[in-house]
Symmetry: C2
Subunit: 322 residues, 2 copies
């Protein structure tokens, strides 16, 4: 939004502002807090939890790779297990991106809807959209364990205005945006770049063969109604900048508009996959970062909001620093 920004590359965005040393110390920008986080506040992602999607090169011959991190337990594991089987079977190779709906989703899979699925995929029940407890060892019907609630409260202390139009409580669980509705349960939230499972009308829940990612304002009404299985951690701009489809719901109308998928592999079976890490959502630096996102006091701002929705506090993710 800065008008006279010098057109040079700089890693820390706020470095472009002419901050005095004192101002910068008192009111660091969110990006500066992240840049200053300690090495042990970052959590490595296992390569086997990544899904690497290589698209056909673009019109200039440039390679296009999208990296997805699969969501950990206790969320959506039935579908995640199917997705691992689909990747192992190389099922997506030769399929395509078929739908790009502005301010909504990019969707990919088999456009013919006739390709046979591999054996052994689970039919996951609708009940698995929702987690009743984050304590996997107990069968408690409590939505949130005492420990998790304490952690959530500690995290949310930063926000003066800790409310959510879609749930009773939002918080970050092991680096993932989630929300809880009392009496219903927990689910991941449909933030930008989250990846979900396309499905037909209820009670169909989808297999995981048809996937989409969010490329617009968070469609949070989908929370608890559809399975979220991961998030794009690199290359989202390769999807969000695709031409919008002109058919109903943004589907491409002509075969030549579809973007071919060359291959989809788990991170431990793809070539040249860098290591990734995320800033622990239980770390002190994350707490300071979330506070700064909710209360912008760096020099560009006059009126801090006093709050932020869960999708406006994206968990910092980066290629692992060696």
């Amino acid at each position: 939004m800065k008008r006279y920004l010098p057109l040079v590359a700089c890693a820390a965005l706020s470095a472009a502002f002419p901050l005095s040393a004192q101002e910068a110390k008192i009111y660091p920008a969110p990006s500066e807090i992240v840049a200053a986080a300690k090495a042990d506040e970052w959590v490595a992602m296992a390569p086997s939890d990544l899904l690497v999607m290589d698209l056909a090169p673009d019109s200039k011959g440039k390679p296009r790779r999208v990296v997805i991190q699969l969501i950990p337990a206790p969320f959506s594991q039935g579908w995640v297990s199917n997705i691992r089987k689909l990747a192992a079977a190389k099922w997506w190779d030769g399929t395509s991106i078929n739908r790009v709906q502005d301010n909504y989703v990019v969707q990919w899979g088999d456009a013919t809807e006739k390709k046979a699925l591999p054996e052994g995929l689970a039919v996951v029940p609708e009940g698995e959209y929702i987690v009743r407890s984050l304590n996997q060892d107990s069968q408690s019907a409590l939505a949130v364990s005492a420990a998790e609630r304490a952690r959530a409260t500690a995290n949310s202390k930063m926000l003066q205005r800790d409310v959510d139009p879609y749930s009773d409580q939002t918080y970050l669980h092991k680096g993932w945006p989630t929300s809880n509705v009392v009496g219903v349960g927990l689910a991941p939230t449909h933030c930008y770049a989250m990846v979900g499972v396309g499905r037909n009308l209820s009670p169909d829940t989808g297999t995981g063969a048809e996937l989409y990612t969010v490329i617009g304002h968070a469609p949070r009404h989908l929370d608890r109604n559809i399975a979220l299985v991961g998030r794009v951690i690199e290359g989202i701009e390769l999807l969000s900048s695709l031409p919008r489809g002109t058919g109903a719901l943004g589907f491409y109308e002509k075969e030549e508009e579809r973007v071919p998928i060359v291959s989809v592999r788990l991170g431990n079976e793809a070539k040249d996959v860098p290591a990734f890490e995320y800033l622990s959502t239980d770390s002190e630096s994350f707490a300071a970062y979330a506070d700064a996102r909710a209360n912008r006091r760096d020099p560009f701002f006059n009126v801090p909001a006093g709050g932020a929705d869960i999708c406006n506090i994206p968990v910092p993710i980066r290629r692992k620093v060696k």
Copy 2:
């Protein structure tokens, strides 16, 4: 998100679902409610309140036109007045789109930052980011007049969970998303496709010559910190699908990456501008639409959210039906 959707064009999205007549009657989808709204519930937009931006044709020679509706009083009128002068002076002709930052903004104006501005532009004070009262006839310091509050309450009755992380109250004012912070005041909200004024560090407020539009999750922390002057009502996909800039903040690094702006004119001075209308936010159909957005009960959904953020209830806008 529907997997087996027939790939045919259809105006009402939900028409793609195999609804029984009874289901469709009981739980119409938001799009069906809008399609059924009465003619007198739609409000015509004045051509003189539109800003028509013609970009250079795309690589296939296809024309690219973006239509913006300027925001009405009492919001941001100092900048809107400047923008009318800039359009009259044909100031943007020959400028370009210079910045595309993923999940954030597309920004346009004079990349050289050397083009002389027309005479007579106002220097608008920061105080005008915020409106103290919607009653223009009074100088009351009340943030919201009694009548406006009653209307807001009537509108918000539809939401079971009428909260906002960024303000004390959100509502639609004459078709525009706004929010109020008690003791601070009212401002329009940074929803998808809203158009704002680029500026330098405070106390600079920008002239209106440098504009941006939101192409990602609503950056609501900018509310009350920057002037919002309108919204893209047609052609947002021409901006949101542009290649992302690789420089800091998404600025294009090479001149040839910039998208040339051929002309920007007010709607009453541009050629072939269709008439537009929006669904009155005070209408019964809008109330039903907002309720349906917040509580999806059409057959795809199992668990209605019980709420929706202001940016997830976009005001329906269309070319005027003759």
